[in-house]
Each structure stands twice: as C-alpha cells, then as structure tokens.
C-alpha cells in the first residue's frame, strides 16, 4: 500500500516528527493499548511492601516504543497511557494522576534521550533503570510541591533503591520481550496470510 504524504522534499526532511508508515501507526496504537492494559493490571496486583511504590509494568510498552519506533512515539505512548489509565481508574486530574503523569512523561523523555546515545544499545536494562529512577524522583518532586512539605524528600532514598531493583527487573523482561518480538511479528503475518 502506498502511503499518501502531504509534505515532501525539504519540508519532510525538516519535520521534527517523522511521518510514520501505516505499520508504525498501528504499532503505536497497539502499544498504547498494551500499556493501558498493563497499567490497569498493575492496579490489581498486590502492592509492594513500600507505600506508593509500583512495579512499573506499563513502562515495558514505552521502552519497546522508544526502542523500535523512536523518541516521540515512545513519549506519546507514555503520555496517552497515563491519561487513559487516569480516565479508567477514575483519578484523572487528581493528585495521584499528576504524580504518575509527571513520572511517566519525564522518565519517557529521559529514556528517549538515553536511547539516542550509544551507551544503551546492548540491552534495555540501563535505560529501564534510568527511567525508573527519574520516575520516582519526579514523583517525589510533585508530591513535595502538592503537599508543601519538604520533609517528604526523606522517603526518596528508599524509593530510589526500590526503583533500581524494579528497573532491572523490567529491563530484563523487556530484553526477553524484544528477543521474541520478531517471531511474534512473523507469526502475525503468517496468521493474516
């Protein structure tokens, strides 16, 4: 199928957001769906023994999007996922939503910038850890801003330690998912044919 483009020549080259092919657009849509699903599943899991901490399963879809589709699709998946999750969970525009939103967006931006460098080519673990650490820092920052109480910072070391562990876990899971991704695509083509 030929893609219809409205811009061409130098305007296309100068565009900040690359015009995506239909396959890529579909992939973004599916990743948003997967991320929202993981976000909702995560709410059903038993909470970690540290209040306010989560595993960060939805970060998987953001990582995959950043790795295979680029910077803006990854950030977009993250933003849309947190808005949809807030909408479904009923916490949209509440303080909990803003904490999650700030964390998800900032961690997606940091992971996207990291993915552009050559240090994180080998695996997703480093990226995931960087994102998790950014997420918890941003979350505590928003919580301090919302409660007008700087004493909340004393909880940050615990959250940072926990986010490093969950970041390693999510990164390893992401590597495993990325390893079977080509087979999944092949299987999907086979099923469609």
């Amino acid at each position: 199928m030929k893609q219809i483009t409205f811009t061409n020549g130098w305007r296309r080259k100068m565009a900040i957001v690359r015009r995506m092919t239909l396959t890529e657009q579909l992939a973004v849509a599916m990743l948003v769906a997967v991320a929202t699903g993981l976000h909702m599943i995560e709410r059903l899991l038993p909470p970690l023994p540290f209040p306010g901490a989560k595993l960060g399963l939805a970060n998987l879809a953001t990582l995959i999007a950043l790795r295979y589709l680029g910077f803006w699709p990854g950030v977009g998946v993250s933003v849309v996922r947190s808005v949809l999750g807030g909408l479904m969970g009923g916490s949209l525009m509440g303080p909990g939503f803003w904490m999650g939103f700030a964390g998800a967006t900032s961690s997606a931006v940091v992971m996207g910038l990291g993915a552009k460098t050559r240090w994180f080519r080998q695996s997703n673990v480093g990226l995931s850890v960087a994102g998790a650490v950014t997420h918890s820092t941003a979350q505590v920052m928003v919580a301090v801003y919302l409660t007008h109480h700087a004493g909340l910072w004393i909880y940050l070391p615990v959250l940072l330690g926990l986010s490093m562990l969950t970041g390693v876990f999510i990164g390893i899971v992401c590597d495993k998912v990325a390893a079977i991704l080509p087979y999944a695509v092949w299987f999907g083509r086979k099923a469609n044919a």
Partner: protein, 134 residues
C-alpha cells in the same frame, strides 16, 4: 568481555539498589531510637496555597487514645493517635497510600493522603520547620 562488563553493571546497580533500600529503611527506622520523646503529631489540611495546622498533639507513652476526624474533598479521614504513635486509620481515597504508611513514631515521619488533602507529620518540639530545611 563486553558482555561480562554489562553483567557487572547490572549486578552493581542491583547491589546499589539493595543498599539504598536497606540503608534508607535503616535511616528511617534508626531515628526512632535516637529521638527520645517530646515529639508532636501534627495534622495538616493541604490547601492550594499552603497547609493549615488542624491539631498538634504531644506523643507520649502514657498519652491517651484519640481519633481526629479531618474533612476533605472526598470525605472524612480518621487519624488515630495511640500513646506515642499515630497513623491514618481510614481514608476515603482510592489508593490507600496514607493507610499503608502505617504507624508513625519517629521525628519527620509522615503520612500523606493527597486525594483527601491530609498530611500527618511527627514533629520535633522546636516547631513545624523540619530538620531537612534547617
């Protein structure tokens, strides 16, 4: 060689993470023994431009049992003071993070219910300014 170094990095991150987790927890619980007494439980209502102090109750072993009701946008949050410790007993918020913080008894311990705008802090007698700011 490169694979080995990557694996070493992961192990290092895990070790640092466990260290921070244990160290942070130890620092949080270690203050309990250091702070002898004379602490206060302060209950704040979180407002858009600042917090208003609702109650400031001295925490002591022979202190009585008290339940403070705070009315927030979602409903009533009950803060329970039991002798030298305080916790959020129940709250109408969806996540129940404030309840999960459990009993607070050391200086600078806190529990916050952001949806319902309630903040419980264990304060030193020298005032509401916390040690981190000073």
């Amino acid at each position: 060689m490169r694979k080995v170094s990557a694996r070493l990095g992961v192990v290092a991150v895990v070790l640092v993470g466990i260290g921070l987790l244990i160290g942070g927890n130890y620092a949080l619980s270690g203050r309990e023994a250091a702070s002898g007494g004379g602490l206060y439980a302060a209950v704040y209502q979180i407002g858009p431009d600042g917090n208003t102090l609702l109650e400031r109750i001295p925490l002591s072993e022979d202190g009585g049992h008290r339940i403070i009701s705070v009315k927030g946008p979602l409903g009533v949050t009950h803060v329970e003071v039991d002798g030298a410790r305080v916790h959020v007993h129940d709250s109408p918020c969806p996540d129940q993070v404030c309840v999960a913080f459990g009993w607070l008894s050391a200086a600078d311990d806190f529990s916050a219910c952001l949806p319902n705008g309630v903040l419980v802090v264990v304060e030193r007698p020298d005032g509401p300014v916390d040690g981190i700011v000073q």
